[in-house]
Amino acid sequence: MNLVATRRRPQGWSILRYLALGALCLAWIYPFLWLVSASLKTPIEIFAKGLNLLPDTPVWENYVRAWGQAGFSTYMLNTVIVTVGTVAVVVFHTALTGYVLGRYDFVGRKLVIGILAATLVVPAGLTIIPIVDLVSALGLLNGHWGIILALAGSGQSAAILLYAGYFRGLPRELEEAATMDGAGFLRIFFNVMMPLAGPVTATVTVLTFLAAWNAFLIPLVFTFGTPGLRTLPVGMLAFVGTNETDWSGMAAAATISLLPVIVFFFFVQRYFVEGIAGAVKA
């Protein structure tokens, strides 16, 4: 009797739950479906068809226009260079710092941790003017390096914490055995420790990849004078600034810009979710 009652109640609730969740998820992904649909229609079709997402015949020409004339091939290349560069610099410097903070006691350790913790709360709006001033004084405003270094140098305390926590947990015997074999500080790090830190490197790579790909303020103000260095979001803003009425061109350009991160996310979902969930548990 009791069993039947408990089994029956969840069923009505279950249908309601599916309906509510289904509607919610549709609202969440509809803008992306609309975007892809609009990118394959002519501008007139977008207005005429209302909510009907299927184009009569896919207009691939929109993509050709966005990729070529509108310059999104250049923006894509710039974004890839900036993202790969930022990931490389971030993994390099946060792994080194995380390693020594996690495994060694030294004079000034607390000071370094204090500085890194304090940088967590610094808002981006506060630092942008001196950053532009500094990078311009260093003569780095006319290349990708300025953007890469500025992105890699701000807000990386979380990655350092991830590495420090992981390296702290590795057994001490690893170094002792390596030292017996005659390995020095550098060789222990690069040949023993770094290969073991693969999972953390994966998480840091994924988080940094998304942050760099989606970065906006720094690429925007760094490329005021150099349109050839614009990244995808900066190029997007410039495109709709001059082609406001080109709905299908906008949709194709936005699809080109968003597709790589969305595909990337589906492949590495696990690392990403673990990374942010771990941050809150810590």
């Binding site: 803008p31 004079v107 950053i131 500080f185 989606n214 990403f272 771990g278």
Partner: protein
């Protein structure tokens, strides 16, 4: 952790023995020094200057920028917009995500699909979402207005982003939509720390779903609530990407938050005002810290009184 073998030795000798450690710290210290610590200090100095950025250095004017700020209605407008945005967007995002997390913290078919769908906007570029949403919310051809008109919910289209009284609320809605998935993951992680046998024991004692929520889930989530709210508040002061591309601060400064005010003064006005922009950023940063500390003190007092 490795202790230095020369613990009692003179400082210089110990530091020399640890030279590899300092070498390892060097890249981070250089980068953080150049792109976070130096900029904070430089901002304080810049805020005391009258500087248009064309000249190499500005003229020192003491607290002149701050005096001007206090009398600038557009600064207070931006200040107010930031606070209104915070007060609306943070509870919405944290609250809706909690409800969703409780529903999705179970095993049933498609649960992973639902979680992934809610999470999808999080990974997309905020600045591009801002541009796209201008079109989605467009009064003449945007799908949202078409859907609302077709369903009879609206008699005539709403200009979500072009109406001064509505634009800030539309921005709040889009921001919550964009970032809800990340808060959902935080809450799911928090819910998974609650042992299941607590619920089973309560169910045996005859507690209904609401009792279980109020006397087990909520109290055990309190520490997470504070952290998640804090993270969300910090993120809610950082809406530059979305706001600049969505509305650019308009119409008539109705959505101009502090970040946009600073950006406009520093980079897009005819004569850049780097000193004035820095002063605005610092003034808001300091008031924000003061407000946050006050809030924490009040919270602690209330809780201390309750436990008595």
């Amino acid at each position: 952790m490795h202790q230095n073998v020369l613990r009692g030795a003179p400082l210089a000798k110990r530091m020399w023995a640890d030279r590899w450690i300092y070498l390892f710290l060097l890249p981070t210290l250089v980068l953080v020094g150049a792109f976070t610590i130096y900029p904070v200090i430089a901002s304080i100095w810049f805020s005391l200057l009258d500087w248009n950025g064309f000249e190499r250095a500005g003229a020192f004017i003491g607290l002149g920028n701050y005096c001007e700020l206090i009398a600038d209605p557009l600064f207070w407008n931006a200040f107010k917009n930031t606070i209104v945005f915070l007060l609306l967007a943070v509870p919405l995002r944290v609250g809706i995500a909690l409800v969703l997390a409780i529903v999705l913290n179970a095993h049933f078919p498609l649960v992973r699909v639902f979680r992934t769908a809610i999470f999808l906007p999080v990974v997309t570029t905020a600045a591009i979402v801002g541009v796209v949403m201008r079109y989605v919310l467009d009064p003449t051809g945007g799908p949202l207005n078409i859907a609302l008109l077709n369903s009879g919910l609206l008699g005539q289209p709403l200009n979500f982003l072009g109406t001064a009284g509505l634009a800030l609320y539309s921005a709040v809605g889009i921001w919550v939509w964009k970032w809800l998935g990340i808060t959902l993951i935080y809450w799911l992680a928090a819910l998974q720390t609650i042992p299941r046998d607590l619920y089973e024991a309560a169910a045996l004692d005859g507690a209904n779903a609401w009792d279980r929520f109020a006397s087990i889930t909520l109290p055990l989530l309190t520490p997470f609530t504070i952290i998640i709210t804090l993270i969300t508040v910090i993120e809610a002061t950082n809406v530059f990407d979305l706001m600049l591309t969505l509305t650019g601060g308009g119409p008539f400064y109705a959505t101009e938050v502090i970040d946009i005010f600073v950006y406009r003064q520093a980079f897009t006005s005819n004569v850049p005002r780097l000193g004035y922009a820095s002063a605005a950023a610092i003034f808001f940063g300091l008031s924000f810290i003061v407000l946050a500390s006050l809030q924490l003190i009040v919270l602690r007092k209330v809780r201390a009184r309750r436990s008595h």
